[in-house]
Amino acid sequence: MENLFVGIADGLRSSLGGLPPELGEAIVMLVKLVAILVFILVNALWLVYMERKVAGYMQARIGPNRVGPKGLLQTTCDIGKLICKEIIIHKDTDKVVFMLAPVLVFVPTLMVFAVIPFGKNMAAIDMNIGLLYLLAIASTSTIIFWMAGWASNNKYSLIGSMRSVAQMVSYELPMVLAILGVIMITGSLNMSDIIAAQEHTWFIFTQPIAFLIFFIASVSECNRAPFDLIEGESELVNGFNTEYGGMAFAMFYLAEYANMLVCCAMVTILFLGGWHAPFGLDFIPSWLWFFIKMYIVMFVIMQLRWTYPRIRVDQLMGFGWKVLVPLSLANIFVTGIGMYIYRAIGW
């Protein structure tokens, strides 16, 4: 079980032995990426279902339970319905940008997944600067929201996308600064190295403030309540995607969940020990541990959404700049002192 996916990759590689090694490696890489692609899309569908179930259970109702066993096929049917729907493009839109936005919205998320290690030796690309790459790519999603909001030529969409840019700028900063604490301890930007450094103690225990800041910032980064200002359905109707319908809307909707997946994976990798098994429960394979941790974080994020009201835009900015940034700077300072003392003592 432990080496299931690694074994599959090796088997594939050896069966391609007749080919030149470069070509064989390229095919293996392609298979890996397609597998990740399928994984993300299926997960996005499943997460929509999970969200609706969790929401239902928290609101004294059952949630979808009619299509398929326990309603499992509900989201699949929804997508089928949305594909059949006409995408309405009203006459004042910037048509090219308007249609480009939902096409591009999955790109940053998919690119990010290339470097995430799902288990021992299970990163598609084990990159040196994985963390930097991830942060750089993940923040480009803002441009796509901005494109969607601007091209819609709708004031609600415009306000929503303006908020999305402001929110990204003020939350990307504490997020990166929080990660800096982890990087200082591990001294590496490679995700596998970061996970390996947590073999004995997870960083949630050594860096609790960084964890909190990172968690809040990443909830904000994937535009989830209480920071879902760019959608803000009670004031902005649906924010940047007000004018979208059919599959174009569904792309944004699914991308939100794919983004959540990235955030949860990040929290798991950086602070919850990645694929390390807690309490020495090694018999469960490492990749399963990774998913278990990821889904627990996911559940918490969902619970947050169904518990908390939405924060206001000026409070969001104030919280980001006046609380999170100073806290994360303080965290770096404290971490630095701590490391210096540790070194001086000579542990």
Partner: protein, 146 residues
């Protein structure tokens, strides 16, 4: 202050997550309909004296009835409710002096065609009045008159 309320909220939603659900699965399970429920109308034709009180009580002029005189009695031939104007306020049921008009527990009044919506409670021909019975009736009425 300072996060206590936030934690409390999370506790409540977490508790709700595991507690029993309030919804029922509609077509399979249905809430019991109380006796006084304002559902579809039923008319007890034998009791009805075609007085037209219900039609007068209705705020929206939903009820239209036609009657024919058979002997001394008014005979109801046609009783139609334009149910799409009905407010289901119950004033007609309340106004009925003979307790002939009732609410039933039928809630499903959907129709596919608009022409099927009017609720036809009575539609019948008046019985042919034979000369004898008419004479007899007029006699009795004469007697009553005296």
């Amino acid at each position: 202050m300072f996060g206590k309320g936030l934690v409390k909220g999370m506790q409540i939603t977490f508790k709700e997550f595991w507690s029993p659900k309030a919804t029922i699965q509609y077509p399979e399970h249905q809430n019991p309909i109380p006796d006084r429920y304002h559902g579809r109308f039923t008319l007890d034709v034998d009791k009805c004296i075609a007085c037209g009180m219900c039609a007068n009580a209705c705020p929206n002029k939903v009820i239209s009835l036609q009657k024919q005189k058979v002997g001394t009695k008014q005979y109801l031939t046609n009783y139609v409710m334009k149910i799409y104007y009905c407010l289901f306020c119950g004033l007609c049921v309340e106004s009925c002096p003979k307790d002939a008009l009732h609410f039933s527990k039928v809630i499903n009044m959907n129709q596919y065609h608009f022409s099927d919506i009017p609720l036809v409670l009575v539609q019948r021909e008046a019985p042919a009045v034979t000369a004898e019975s008419e004479v007899a009736a007029s006699k009795t009425s004469d007697k009553e008159g005296e």
